[in-house]
């Protein structure tokens, strides 16, 4: 038989290696996907237990302010009012993002539009350094520097949403800045040229053309910052006061979902109501980060169309 015809009909070594490689990558991908599904399923099943076997009320969870899962109310339902933590989490997140975004945008504009050279030389390393500092160090600085300052200015103990937001502000600043830098860099050069050639000044070009064109990317940066702020546990826990109370002002002790989780998860026994209640908080955190991710994907998609 013709050797070429024969080789065409049989499987070559290369084809076998190809098939093996494909199999390995598929397996690895499957393991990762399964892992994620397993984590979701586990947290979800644990997270809804309080509403099933412990007869907790979903409405109570989102609207009541008393958190004491070991105790029951008149209807024999556990006291799982998580509103103070939910409010606390959203308050520190929003406040820190509101403070951080203008600074991050200014830094990004400086690095991309005004002085790319010195931006790359000085600002970039500083921002990278900020990312590398462990959160416990941020928390510690917050405890020693920010809490006493807030105490002096606003009175009270100094622990609270304001202190938490200020610590988070520094922590999310590099995230928002570096992603905004990417967003501005992605704005094509010809947009700037078009604007400059019409006699627009550099600031007009930056403000009206570059920032507008980069808006979806900048929004993504802000949402990433929010996602990070929402999920940060340790540093916030060190400065927020950890009182499960509805915050009355920015300087009164409050708490967040993550702080309650990290504080209490070691003190409860698996399967008890108190433990299940914590899982519900974890589920809420997971859902929130899912929502943040969906928003980011949505913004990215909308940005592509332009």
């Amino acid at each position: 038989m013709d050797p070429i015809a024969k080789s065409l009909k049989s499987t070559s070594v290369s084809a076998k290696i190809e098939r093996r490689g494909k199999l390995i990558t598929q397996l690895c991908t499957m393991v990762i996907v399964l892992l994620v599904i397993a984590i979701f399923a586990f947290i979800a099943s644990k997270g809804v237990a309080i509403f099933g076997q412990d007869h907790g009320s979903v409405l109570d969870f989102f609207t009541k302010t008393t958190w004491n899962p070991d105790k029951q109310d008149a209807y024999h339902r556990p006291l799982i009012g998580a509103l103070p933590m939910i409010v606390g989490s959203f308050a520190v997140t929003l406040l820190s993002v509101i403070v951080a975004t203008p600074f991050a945008l200014a830094a990004a504009i400086f690095m991309v539009e005004i002085s790319p050279k010195s931006g790359k030389k000085f600002l970039q390393p500083v921002i990278e350094l900020l990312v590398g500092i462990p959160s416990v160090v941020y928390g510690f600085i917050g405890l020693v520097v920010i809490v006493p300052s807030v105490q002096k200015i606003a009175g009270g103990s100094g622990f609270g949403i304001l202190a938490g937001s200020l610590v988070l502000f520094v922590m999310i600043l590099p995230t928002i800045t570096s992603m905004s830098v990417d967003a501005l860099k992605a704005v094509p050069r010809y947009y700037r040229e078009a604007s400059l050639a019409l006699g627009a000044t550099r600031w007009q070009t930056t403000y009206k053309v570059v920032l507008r064109a980069g808006a979806p990317g900048i929004m993504t940066a802000v949402i990433f910052g929010m996602s990070r702020a929402f999920g940060e546990a340790l540093a916030v826990q060190m400065v927020i006061g950890n009182a499960i109370l509805m915050p009355t002002n920015l300087a009164s002790p409050a708490t967040t979902l993550t702080s309650i989780l990290t504080m209490n998860v070691g003190n409860t026994i698996m399967g008890t109501t108190a433990n299940n209640a914590l899982w519900t908080l974890a589920l809420l955190l997971l859902l929130m980060s899912l929502i943040f991710n969906i928003i980011i994907k949505y913004l990215a998609k909308r940005g592509e169309l332009k």
């Binding site: 947009y191 078009a194 019409l198 006699g199 053309v209 064109a213």
Partner: protein, 266 residues
């Protein structure tokens, strides 16, 4: 340093008025000289083509005329650019004013991701024109000048990016016209377009000639011979020959030009 090449520049007719001229204009990118002293004179309300191979310096020259090369950090531009008896290549000259009077259309259509209307009103609003009626008039007038009005008059609020390439380029022309420039620089405005859009743009240019002085860079020699009154041939950073277009294409004075326009290059 550039080798000495034979050059020829025919002076403009005595009664012709000059809209813009350069004297010994040189451009350095870092240590490298990309443009070796170009002196040209552009007649008012005429079309002048700049032709030459890629890398011949014609685009670099064009971009120097409205100081767009200022935006490149390593570029250094020396020599005189005379516009209304002012050397606009001086640091104290307001570049934003320069670019208002010397408009530019780029190779690639580059409308903003804004509505058609906003693309045109953008620069006017930046200069403080807020009167909606006046803005609407200018939008209509410039779109008509760019032969785009009939196609978009009902869609002025639609995104400019939804237009076809040729329409986008005509929008970019309208946008440049909105500033009421004296001079319009065009950097290969039709090279990214299909033949029909190209023909449309060329017709538009003939219309615009009545009110504007046009300087156009083109790779397409047929285009240069079709549309322009004058042609300048660039080669390796040097201006080799400047003459009336018909002379350049029929009786060039320099051998290099002859080679280029007849396709026997190198």
């Amino acid at each position: 340093m550039a080798q000495e090449l034979a050059t020829f520049t025919r002076p403009l007719a005595k009664d012709a008025s000059s809209a813009l001229s350069t004297e010994d204009l040189r451009v350095h990118y870092g240590a490298k000289e990309a443009l070796h002293g170009v002196s040209l004179n552009f007649e008012r309300h005429k079309i002048t083509s700049l032709i030459g191979a890629s890398g011949s310096g014609k685009s670099t020259y064009l971009r120097s005329l409205n100081r767009m090369n200022d935006t490149i950090a390593t570029a250094q531009i020396t020599g005189k650019i005379m516009y209304r008896n002012v050397n606009i290549n001086l640091p104290q000259v307001d570049v934003y004013e320069v670019r208002k009077h010397i408009g530019m259309v780029f190779q690639r259509p580059n409308p903003f991701s804004k509505s058609i209307r906003d693309n045109i009103t953008f620069a006017l609003e930046r200069r403080g024109l807020k009167d909606r009626q006046k803005l609407a008039e200018i939008v209509e007038q410039t779109l008509k000048q760019a032969s785009l009005w009939e196609q978009v008059k009902d869609d002025l609020d639609k995104s400019a990016l939804a237009l076809s390439g040729g329409q986008q380029q005509r929008l970019c022309i309208a946008r440049a016209l909105a500033m009421k420039p004296d001079i319009l620089l065009m950097d290969e405005p039709a090279s990214a377009l299909d033949p029909i859009s190209t023909a449309n743009i060329e017709t538009t240019m003939q219309e615009l000639k009545k009110d504007y002085t046009i300087i156009i860079v083109t790779h397409n020699m047929q285009q240069a011979s079709r549309i322009s009154d004058y042609t300048a041939f660039f080669h390796m950073g040097q201006m080799i020959e400047f003459d009336q277009t018909r002379r350049i294409f029929t009786r060039p004075q320099v051998q290099l030009t002859e080679n280029y326009v007849s396709g026997h290059f190198g």
